[in-house]
């Protein structure tokens, strides 16, 4: 807001992390993490539980201070220009950050007001439409299903069109249909030029969505590349002929598919 981005900042990657370190008491969670995320791309941070993915996201979202190293988001330093960073990002945490007592529409209006935008009502109605929540908009969020809650959560993150969005395990705990809905929302975001950094422990999620994938293991990035590059790390695939069996997910989605289409209409 106060610092308009210079041309150097525009050319920089949307997220640039160098030598990031963080310890909790005696436990070294991050031991020098380096990441560059290009503007408008989807970057997936993979890792098992406790690998430090959430810690990275919390530092980048200015919720946590790093012990060492530097991190810049949208050209701003997270330690010294936290207010500018907050103006350029939005965070969707592991647990849906929605107000259960308010209605879906009230949640969106609340965030629009806090981002100091004009016509918060119109912004809310537009997002309700885009995320198929128009009918549910006047209901309290406490009555929503997990997938609807997540969609609302992501819709709240889009308010004000922040150039960088963090999604921390956006599909953990969701059923397969809801996961696909969230994936579609994320792809649409990136198409609109938003930079997305998402963490996940689901490998297929990274495969589906990400332009680049990094694996965080024991506090360091052990590999970082496109899906094809990562695949080349292993010996070339042998060609085997296997009968294509439908996966359980295919069966599930086929059986419930008709219902989903009806709901979306």
């Amino acid at each position: 807001m106060s610092n308009s981005p210079t041309s150097a900042q525009v050319e920089q990657p949307a997220i640039r992390v160098h030598g990031l370190e963080k310890s909790f008491k005696q436990v070294k969670v991050l031991r020098g993490v380096d990441i560059d995320v290009a503007r408008g791309s989807i970057f997936a941070l993979l890792g098992s539980n406790g690998a430090g993915k959430t810690t990275v996201v919390r530092i980048l979202a200015t919720l946590l201070r790093a012990d060492g190293g530097t991190a810049r988001v949208a050209g701003f330093d997270v330690a010294t220009q936290a207010a500018d960073v907050r103006n350029s990002i939005s965070l969707t945490g592991q647990f849906a950050a929605v107000d259960e007592i308010l209605t879906g529409r009230e949640n969106l209006v609340l965030v629009a007001r806090l981002r100091h935008l004009r016509e918060p009502g119109a912004i809310a109605d537009d997002l309700l439409g885009r995320f198929s929540l128009t009918e549910a908009g006047t209901r309290r969020v406490g009555t929503y299903s997990g997938g609807m809650r997540r969609r609302l959560d992501i819709a709240m993150s889009l308010i004000g069109n922040p150039p960088v969005i963090f999604l921390d395990e956006p599909t953990t705990g969701l059923d397969p249909e809801a996961r696909i809905e969230v994936w579609q929302a994320v792809k649409e975001l990136a198409r609109g030029g938003t930079t997305v950094l998402l963490t996940t422990q689901y490998l297929d999620e990274a495969e589906q969505l990400a332009d680049r994938i990094a694996i965080l293991h024991e506090g360091r990035i052990i590999v970082n590349g496109t899906l094809d590059e990562l695949k080349q790390l292993l010996p070339p695939a042998e060609i085997e002929y296997v009968e294509k069996q439908p996966t359980l997910e295919d069966v599930f989605l086929t059986l419930v598919g008709a219902k989903t289409e009806k709901e979306q209409r």
């Binding site: 807001m1 919720l63 103006n87 950050a97 929605v98 609340l110 806090l114």
Partner: protein, 253 residues
Amino acid sequence: MNKHFVGDTTVLLGRSLRHIARSPDTIITTAVMPIAFMLLFVYVFGGAIETGSDSYVNYLLPGILLITIASGISYTAFRLFLDMQGGIFERFQSMPIARSSVLWAHVLTSLVANVISLVVIVLVALLMGFRTGAGVLGWLAVAGILLLFTLALTWIAVIPGLTAQSVDGASAFSYPLVFLPFVSSAFVPTASMPGPVRAFAEHQPVTAIVNAIRDLFAQEPVGSGIWTALAWCVGILVVAYLFANLTYRRKIS
């Protein structure tokens, strides 16, 4: 101060007030216990208590009002704790808002909720025969003391709200605060108590505040007592505010 402080606080205050409007049970449960105490003491124990005043409900009301506040503020800790538990607190913290407005919205909500409870209690007391000749100034002085006391206790409540590990922990801190009026001049004159208890009762904040409110209602000269009462309120307020903000800053950085 951040230029959005007033605007952001107003938006967040509107949110919390909606919470209260949609769960009015928080106001009802706040008012039920003090009303029960009032019924119990006026109609059961009151006849045996020698207070030197002609109406026991007149004697009792100031202490009941303080108990109401002490139980009402536990909801502030509760609501703050729920915000911390869900992701909404982190969402607010990662947004370009004035960070202190998150706390102030809860504090102002506490003031509004407690004022409603206090009005309910005073109306019930009037039904039970409470009478005062206090004029507008007297009532304003009582309201001022009660507001200051609410503000002071609310800032205490912010601390467990930010640090508690469980819902029970977030509201348990208020039990001693609710109990404090029992060892004061709120129910019986301190002169009837044995030495050490009496010494404690006469030098703790509730007695000073209760006596000041009682004198204001009875239109008696408040003397230096009111300054002791105000000093306690302001003192608690300042210390609690500083500790709450220290806790908050530790929590968000």
